[in-house]
Symmetry: C2
Subunit: 244 residues, 2 copies
DNA sequence: CAGTGGTCTAGACCACCGT
DNA sequence: CGGTGGTCTAGACCACTGC
């Protein structure tokens, strides 16, 4: 008891926050995998030796974060990233009338590359680290709508350079199932640029045509970067929608 | 009691929801204006004749919506839209290094116009309704960064056609103070387009240069449209940032 | 029908703020 | 120091789900 104050952050977390972290860890560890129903509130509270209200607060926080989904009469289920709703959580392109698109993907190349300083920094890696780069075109109803590079830490995602033979349209689901990397949120930077080179050719637009350029960093629960995605979108018959 | 089901929404709202609506109404009515401290939880609960926990839930919901800000030891204060933080809540343009901009505005024209079908629809008005249209350029450090049209319901905002003499840089604050219209959220649609005409001249770019085109509808607490803003942004040295 | 989460209550103690 | 919101507890009843 000699120290009067200035304790070095005594990690005095509220109980509900500790509970949240404990349950989050069980989800990350795979004990409660996506789609699993958690035990009911009363049993969990008993297990952890806390009041139901306290455990409830932790679950509500997790629900607000989108980690779990709670439904009266059913239970609390770990959010899975395989439903269409979640699949399109980060896909903000819509037709001008507001209807959604169902894009398909055509992979152009998969390679191991040395990342630029900017790209490795975005992924939180050392300068010059090796990356896996997937280049693909996404099309809707036969017409190409975007061209993109997908960049990943080769140390973690090297398998993706060759496997699986056919990449699924929804890579985030693959990251979650095969690498245990769950994309929780994403940061994007948008600009208007001119089309050129392979990108212009693949999208079937003239050199110099205006394209929407999107640079997206996908992050996990803890805020650690998982993927960097650079896209060029033809917004002639599309728009990028967002709401605050 | 003849109808067996399909009751027309029996408005059976939870108590905490009703409390939220009651308090929201007092804010909208100006009884609790932005910056005002609400009475403490215990007194409010007594006033409304509910348990503190129930009132607390209502206040927490309002805080989550950003309507009020709660601080331990101080109290619950109605959020005001005059701080820089809130001022830039809907301004998503940043420099590539992530630093923020402090744009200034130069008004080019103010007029009363007949709205296009698309524009009046976005504002929830009848086809052909009259609108006030403000055209301006926003500049940072002397360089123009965007050109925009601001469209408002003339029936409600006619004063803005001529007054005040000098429009403030931050219109949303003006809407709140003078028209009692508080912008709570906004929906945006983004596209890449080519510069042309007055827009290209004002931004100092060549005809055909790529610009980021933003169409934003600003909404109040109830989701009713307040303002339609159409902007053309030169993203040569800027980017539009967003995070999910 | 049993079991789940949703709502509501009532009260205790703690951490923070300003005086 | 008194007053605020933050945390935590304990228990009651309700509304929804699926069998």
């Amino acid at each position: 008891m000699s120290n009067s104050e200035h304790a070095p952050r005594p990690v005095a977390q509220p109980l509900h926050r500790q509970l949240r972290d404990l349950m989050m860890a069980r989800i990350d560890a795979g004990e409660w995998s996506p789609g699993t129903y958690l035990p009911p509130e009363t049993r969990l509270a008993e297990e952890y030796g806390v009041a139901v209200g306290t455990l409830r607060k932790a679950l509500l926080d997790m629900a607000a974060e989108g980690v779990v989904v709670r439904r009266q009469g059913k239970g609390t289920v770990v959010a899975s990233h395989d439903s269409d709703a979640v699949l399109f959580r980060f896909f903000n392109l819509r037709r001008p009338d507001g209807s959604t698109l169902r894009p398909e993907s055509r992979v152009l190349s998969r390679a191991r590359v040395r990342g630029s300083a900017e790209d490795t920094a975005a992924l939180g890696l050392a300068d010059g680290a090796e990356l896996v780069c997937i280049t693909r075109v996404r099309e809707a109803e036969g017409a190409p709508i975007l061209y993109e590079h997908i960049l990943l830490d080769a140390a973690r995602f090297s398998a993706l350079e060759t496997q699986p033979e056919i990449l699924p349209n929804t890579l985030y689901q693959l990251y979650q199932l095969d690498m245990g990397a769950t994309v929780h949120r994403a940061q994007e930077a948008l600009r208007a640029v001119q089309a050129k080179g392979e990108c212009a050719r693949e999208l079937g637009v003239a050199e110099g045509a205006p394209l929407l350029h999107i640079r997206r960093v996908a992050l996990d629960y803890g805020g650690a970067p998982i993927e960097l995605r650079v896209s060029w979108v033809n917004t002639q018959s599309l728009q990028y929608e967002t709401g605050v």
